[in-house]
Symmetry: C2
Subunit: 131 residues, 2 copies
C-alpha cells in the first residue's frame, strides 16, 4: 500500500528554481505539481486540457487572450483557485509566490504551442520528481 505523504511547505523548501514544477502526487493519470513563481512566463496554449491553479503563497497572475485577441488578466492571491480552459492562450506572471497545479500527466509547462523564445528562468518540462 502506497502511504506516501508529502507536505507542501517542506516540498517547496526543497528547491529554489522558479517555473520548474515538481510532482508531489499522482492520482489516476493526473499529477499534482507545485512551483515557485517569479517574473513573466510565456504565452502558451494547452489544446486538450484545462489547467487548475491554486495559489499557495504570494501573487500569481494569469493573462489570457480571447478569440479576438483581447487580453484579460486575472490577479490571484493566496488561497485563490482558477481554471484556465483548454485552448485558451495564457501567460502567467508573478511578483513572487508559489502555486499548486492539477493537470494530466505529460502536460508541458509551455503547452502544445508557445510564443517567442522561452526565457532562461522558465523550465519547459512535464514536471520533475521531488528529491
Amino acid at each position: 500500500m502506497d502511504t506516501k505523504l508529502v507536505n507542501l511547505t517542506e516540498a517547496l523548501a526543497s528547491f529554489d528554481d522558479v517555473y520548474s514544477p515538481r510532482v508531489v502526487a499522482r492520482m489516476n493519470d493526473y499529477e499534482v505539481r507545485i512551483a515557485h513563481t517569479s517574473g513573466e512566463h510565456v504565452w502558451h496554449v494547452h489544446d486538450d486540457t484545462d489547467e487548475f491553479f491554486l495559489v499557495l503563497d504570494g501573487r500569481f497572475d494569469v493573462a489570457m487572450r480571447d478569440a479576438d485577441g483581447r487580453e484579460t488578466t486575472v490577479e490571484l492571491r493566496k488561497g485563490d483557485t482558477f481554471v484556465v480552459p483548454r485552448g485558451t492562450e495564457h501567460k502567467p506572471s508573478s511578483q513572487g509566490g508559489s502555486i499548486l497545479m492539477f493537470e494530466p500527466s505529460g502536460t508541458s509547462t509551455t503547452g502544445d504551442r508557445y510564443e517567442g523564445e522561452i526565457p532562461d528562468h522558465v523550465d519547459s518540462t512535464t514536471g520533475h520528481e521531488l528529491t
Copy 2:
C-alpha cells in the same frame, strides 16, 4: 471566457456542515472539492479512482485496510497531501479541519461500497455547488 476565481478561505466560510463537499472548480472531467471535517467518516471504497487529499487546516486522518485486513492510519496535518489508491478500503476521521480533494466528477463521498450505516453527520453525495 470563464474567468471565475474562487478563494478557498471565503468558500470554506460560506458553509458549516462537515463531510459535505462543495465543488470549487471543474477541470476536464475532474472536480476540485473542499469540505469541513470532524468526527468519523465511514469505511468505503472507490473501485475505479484514486483520491487526492490536501489538508487545508486542522487534522485529517485516513485509516486504510490492506488485502489482509490489516489497518494503517495516516495522520495528516495542514499542508499535507496524500493519495488513497483506488480499490483501497479507507475511513477518514478528523479532530476538526478542512480538506481539498481532486476526483473525477460523479465520485461519491461514500464510494462504490461502504460498511454499516452512514451516520447523520456524513453526507453521501457527489458534491454540492458553492452558493
